[in-house]
Symmetry: D3
Subunit: 136 residues, 6 copies
């Protein structure tokens, strides 16, 4: 159960700023479905608008990484941060964007491998090699 | 400074099990360079072999995700886990595999966006939507 | 479900050390309610006493930060650490100490913003500016 | 050392979008100092603008939490996320906004206490009390 | 609910590589019980085999740390990483290997203490003492 | 560099409450060495005393887990929390209490294995088996 109530469509309609974001989510995603994250965030219309617009710019707009790759990265971060909701929602999003079962299994294996070597490096306090310090 | 000494090539050569892994790293990567992570892990030859073989299976062998995408996911996990060494080494690896500056910037933006929504979701304790619970 | 049983009032009453802490929690909070955290911790009366006394010194006693600010900080840490129980219990505590919905929304926005810039900084491995290194 | 070069003022001046953000940071903070975070982020002018504008809306604009409290929350999140740069920069910012040594010590004690009880709760897997589940 | 289906014994039997690992888990543990983790991982038979063999080498085979100590360390890491499933499964495993209630309480206290001092150190950004930098 | 100055012995001597803790640390550890953590924490004499007394109760006093096992758990938590200082100081402490190189390597392997399976479980969102839900 959330620490705030989830706004229904009726409640969202009361505030034009919220309604505008909900409309844009629906138009952008070509779906009537508004997931719980936005319904919880909608208590703060400015945060709702800011977050949705940032997400749209990073995850939806044209960009150098393709939509599926973006979702894989999102799942990776969400897993490392232990966000159950985010793992569920972005795994569903990745599947909707064409992620196959084999790709999902590969993603999961990479996440596990990275978590392991991250821990080994931290336990051993390995110093960064000079060769890696040449910035872009 | 590491919590263990980093093995030099001379020290690695003393143990055939270590030497064999170092040889395979060099042959696989077509480079003489062995980074500090392996030199720190080499005190435990079984762990060295196990970790390298898993990494090779997941990051080098044929698979459904391409080599650059794998590195982007690795950077994402390493960032979320706060592993400075790993961020440096895998950012270098991604660049060596063709990551452009624009792709790097996009990756960083996704990592930041995911971290933010992960935190918002956790603060708001958003319950998982039914729609996301249909497993593969 | 907890990894230990939650002690009932009857079980707590069997051990005077546990009973004394439960009594002090009730007296301090002016409420009969003992939340599950203390009932789980009560299997280790020394830990129960130590934790409660530290919490009382830091969160209840007079101090330079006011009670509501303390709860906001507690929520922030609990969110970043992904502790669902703690987010729920301290959000309830903050509301009981007067946190408004607007303050809660502001808190959540700050937590999200900090999580994002934390991730950006780690991905970019930004070195600390000299100007920030002048200690207190 | 960063994974990207830090942009100098001269390089920032080449791109009007970057220059505009740097100008606004200087005007808003009434200081000529631009810290390394922005110089690293400036390679992605859209991210630079988006991040600065969100930060300004959340940390600088009028709002229900006062500026010092916001910084305390930022330090708390940054500590829990293990971001050394962010702990340094926001501790400096909090001092600039009037944080006393006693307030800093209190903040640190709360962060430590929260981290401890977060861990105890997770180890004991304490279930959320019904009483905490009444959302706002 | 998992992001993949949990394989039943019937489904596992279809793939000899999966069946072989399930057989080895049962033989090694001298129990017919296969917990959900392996049933979720079994969609990737290579990952299943690799993970089980690594786990067996580290947690079951002869080694310098005794089986119960290994489980205590596993619980500690799982708690710090916020993995509810892992805390539950390894607490059960530790009990099966003889962990007493007093040892569990001591473990939990150490985990909490470490989490607290970790946070204090990070908030204070304490530099490593020279005396600690003499590697093994 | 710390966010507070590290107290010298001369500065510690000015405050009897700080001096008393420093004296007890030296007497308990039978060593004149006071590491930086305590010198940073000493700005808050109450926190210094509370933290030292808790640490002494949990890490030094008689208890069901032996001193070396306690340090191994401390290293495990500190690694998962990414506390470089704590990994260094407790690895040194474990060595001083007799940890062999083989035990250290085993510890590191367990930490890495746990981090990996924690991540796999979170990515797959594995539900807790009924069999693990029988509390102590």
């Amino acid at each position: 159960m959330a620490t705030v109530r989830l706004l229904s469509d009726e409640e969202a309609a009361v505030n034009p700023a919220v309604q505008a974001v909900f409309d844009d989510i629906r138009a952008t995603r070509k779906s009537d479905f508004i997931n719980n994250f936005w319904r919880a965030l909608a208590h703060d219309p400015a945060a709702l608008k800011r977050t949705w617009e940032s997400l749209k710019a990073i995850m939806v707009a044209e960009g150098p990484l393709d939509p599926l790759t973006r979702e894989l990265i999102y799942i990776a971060v969400s897993t490392a941060n232990g966000c159950s909701y985010c793992v569920h929602s972005h795994t569903a999003a990745a599947r909707a964007k064409g992620m196959t079962d084999d790709q999902h299994a590969h993603l999961v294996a990479i996440i596990g491998m990275a978590a392991q070597t991250n821990a080994l490096v931290t336990a051993l306090q390995v110093p960064v090699d000079e060769a890696f310090l040449v910035a872009g």
